[in-house]
């Protein structure tokens, strides 16, 4: 008699596959928000497992700020090609050009906040009734309270005080016309779980997660990639450095870490001994103590 025991990674995997199938069964037109970052890559991998040997039964949606790392875009396009996935792109540049949003100006200009409008417009355009995201509850205090099936009103808003109770593994995706849901299949994963799972399952990820040489500059203690989208202050001088990225977001708000880690094992050891959180290098969260909560209420991921 052997013991029927699952390791934590296998239990998390099983939970996530169950959630993805619930999404596919309960909604007419779900889409997987795909940024090319590790969390959305893991979600896609889990979706492939959940529906094998059929293809993933929903398309990918990339909200493109136009400020992406080139490596991430190459990776995205290869993944779509390899797995025959359908990809839709919502462009922040288009939202700016059409006057839907106004570009921020100044040294700290970022398109991060503008994404929300593009995201909501894209969901409406494609009649998406459930947007699947790679958000994790360990990332941020406001996320820690969000349900796996998270209801959005007709304005795309999240009402943290009026969330539906979510019990056992029963998910209530009922809604009125015009409303939609966000679903977070890896809610219960931590950054460490994601890395361990990537290693366990041998999942390809964009090269910029690994240590590489790059031109960078430092601002307020954060290392940024030097690129045409960043406006340097006179005293900021770019220099070459070996870095890697711990999260991949918009270039204007994603900081690099000084790291020699060039394998998954080394990354995991680095994450294990790190003294700051993943989002510690994200400018977008530092704007105020409740920055994430405010953005989420407006419809952010």
């Amino acid at each position: 008699m052997h013991s029927y025991r699952l390791t934590h990674l296998k239990e998390l995997e099983s939970e996530s596959m169950h959630i993805l199938r619930e999404v596919a069964a309960q909604f007419e037109r779900p889409m997987l928000l795909f940024s090319g970052g590790k969390d959305s890559i893991v979600c896609f991998h889990l979706a492939r497992k959940a529906f094998f040997p059929a293809k993933v039964p929903f398309p990918l949606l990339h909200v493109d700020t136009g400020h992406n790392f080139e490596e991430t875009m190459t990776f995205r396009d290869e993944l779509v090609k390899e797995h025959g996935a359908q990809l839709f792109v919502g462009s922040v540049q288009e939202s700016i050009d059409s006057g839907r949003v106004q570009e921020e100006t100044g040294y700290y200009a970022s398109r991060n906040k503008l994404q929300t409008v593009t995201l909501l417009d894209s969901l409406e355009k494609h009649k998406v009734d459930c947007a699947i995201g790679g958000g994790r509850r360990d990332e941020e205090k406001a996320r820690a309270k969000e349900r796996v099936f998270s209801h959005r009103d007709e304005f795309g808003q999240w009402d943290p005080k009026n969330q539906r109770p979510e019990l056992w593994n029963i998910y209530n995706g009922k809604k009125r016309p015009g409303e939609h849901f966000r679903a977070f299949p890896i809610s219960n994963w931590t950054e460490m779980d994601v890395w361990q799972y990537i290693m366990l399952e041998n999942i390809p990820i964009p090269s910029i997660y690994f240590s590489h040489e790059r031109e960078v500059f430092k601002r307020d203690g954060v290392i940024y990639a030097n690129s045409p989208v960043m406006r340097l202050k006179p005293e900021e001088k770019p220099y070459q450095m070996r870095v890697r990225f711990r999260t991949i977001g918009d270039m204007s708000c994603t900081g690099a870490v000084d790291s020699p880690a060039s394998t998954l094992e080394e990354i995991i050891d680095e994450v294990a001994s790190s003294r700051v959180t993943e989002r510690g290098s994200r400018m977008d969260d530092k704007r105020s103590e409740a920055a994430m909560e405010d953005r989420k209420k407006e419809g952010y991921f």
């Binding site: 029927y4 596959m17 199938r21 040997p53 406001a142 109770p165 103590e289």
Partner: protein, 424 residues
């Protein structure tokens, strides 16, 4: 070390626990303490907490701020919803469902308890058992949490007095004899000072038992799931319709009970057709067996019409099938339960409707007796209720299987989840 490293991570398992206590029992402080003493706190988080503590003007660093999530909570200084926290030691990964203690938020405790292996219930050493202690214990029992740990907290404020602890433990034992919990433990702690949370207290040499952390790391949980009654609710039918898999019809689901093996005789409900398992797949990999709580895809030897909501079960061990379902119901909504009212039901992957036939009784949760008088089930009430469903449900009693024995009710006009039901 913040987490397990590359080595050994394949061997960790997962413990989900919930924490409950009355207002000011020090629950947030306890969680902050667990995170802090197991070195799970990052520098930027600690800086934020130090800054927030300084802004409020309380002298010490307030560990409870680590877990208080939403702005409203920060303003009111209370926790208002279920928040999930994660930490790991080299032995286990932990998920904490942190739920509030106020009476009006019982629904959140029920939510957090529904997936928990273990409940920590905090009792203030100065106050002993309160009405809320009873309520929390009863919910833990009702939700079938296999392990309950009573932490007698704030021992520092009663001079670490053994007699106080012993008296409260005795009261709790008397009260708990009415509960259906398999495993109950009692630990004297001070979350504020760190006694018996992660590190053994030197101020309570009279206590010989394990620390809270030792229990969390070592309590046996593999036996908590049902590995006897084979239950596989079908979530989704996988039909690739490609050249390679032209006739493939796979049934995707998460095993809710028992162990399924290739070649097993199975019954499909509600049709009652029999077949044998032809294959079991976990992603691309074909496996010989699947057990709770694995998510797999099964194929059967015969072509049978099976769709979402059906359940594949062991041929010689059928669940109950009935349209008359007797449940213990926790009510979550401001509008009271309507007798003769109709609601949507979600049970496993099955969607149905039901009518409330009868309220058999409302529980008085502090005495664990049937309440006298008004039997209206209001927000945060718990009662025994008879449902009549539009189609038969295939279920086990909740105490036998937490997945096939649970359901939720949804208000058909607002789509809100209004109740959780445990089938009795």
């Amino acid at each position: 070390m913040k987490d397990n490293s590359t080595h050994g991570y394949l061997d960790m398992d997962l413990l989900r626990f919930t924490t409950a206590g009355s207002v000011d029992d020090g629950k947030s402080t306890l969680i902050g303490r667990l995170l802090y003493d197991t070195k799970q706190i990052f520098e930027d988080q600690m800086e934020a907490v130090e800054a927030a503590s300084a802004k409020r003007g309380n002298g010490d660093v307030d560990l409870s701020l680590l877990t208080d999530g939403l702005r409203a909570e920060r303003e009111q200084g209370i926790t208002i919803d279920v928040a999930y926290r994660y930490f790991a030691t080299p032995k286990r990964k932990f998920i904490i469902a942190d739920t509030p203690g106020h009476i009006q938020y019982t629904r959140n405790m029920v939510t957090g308890a529904s997936t928990a292996n273990l409940a920590i219930i905090l009792v203030d050493a100065r106050k002993g058992i309160l009405e809320q202690t009873c309520r929390h214990s009863f919910i833990a029992s009702l939700l079938g949490i296999p392990h309950v740990v009573f932490c007698i907290n704030k021992m520092d404020l009663v001079d670490y007095d053994e007699a106080t602890f012993t008296r409260i433990q005795k009261e709790l034992e008397d009260f708990s004899s009415k509960l259906e919990v398999r495993d109950i433990r009692y630990i004297p702690i001070s979350a504020l000072k760190g006694d018996n949370v992660v590190d053994r207290s030197e101020r309570m040499p009279w206590y010989q038992g394990p620390t809270l952390m030792y229990l969390l790391e070592n309590i046996h949980i593999a036996g908590d799931l049902n590995h006897i009654d084979r239950r596989f609710p079908v979530q989704y039918v996988v039909r690739p319709m490609t050249q390679e898999h032209h006739d493939f019809r796979g049934f995707a689901g998460r095993v809710a009970g028992g162990v399924f093996r290739k070649g097993d005789q199975v019954n499909v409900l509600p049709s009652g057709f029999q077949s044998t398992i032809k294959s079991i797949n976990l992603g691309e990999r074909e496996v010989d067996e699947a057990f709770a709580p694995q998510s797999v895809v099964m194929t059967l030897a015969d072509e049978i019409d099976i769709s979402r909501g059906d359940v594949i079960v062991g041929a010689n061990n059928l669940p109950e099938s009935s349209q008359d379902v007797d449940v213990m119901l926790c009510w979550f909504n401001e509008r009271p339960l309507q007798v003769n009212g109709k609601y949507a039901v979600k049970h496993n992957s099955r969607d149905a409707r039901c009518v409330i036939k009868e309220v058999k009784y409302r529980m008085d949760i502090s005495s664990l007796h049937k309440a006298d008088g008004d039997q209206t089930i209001r927000m945060n009430d718990i009662g025994r209720v008879q449902l009549r469903t539009t189609v038969p449900l295939h279920f086990d009693k909740y105490q036998r299987n937490r997945f096939t024995g649970s359901l939720i009710l949804v208000d058909e006009s607002t789509n809100e989840t209004v109740a959780a039901g445990m089938i009795v």
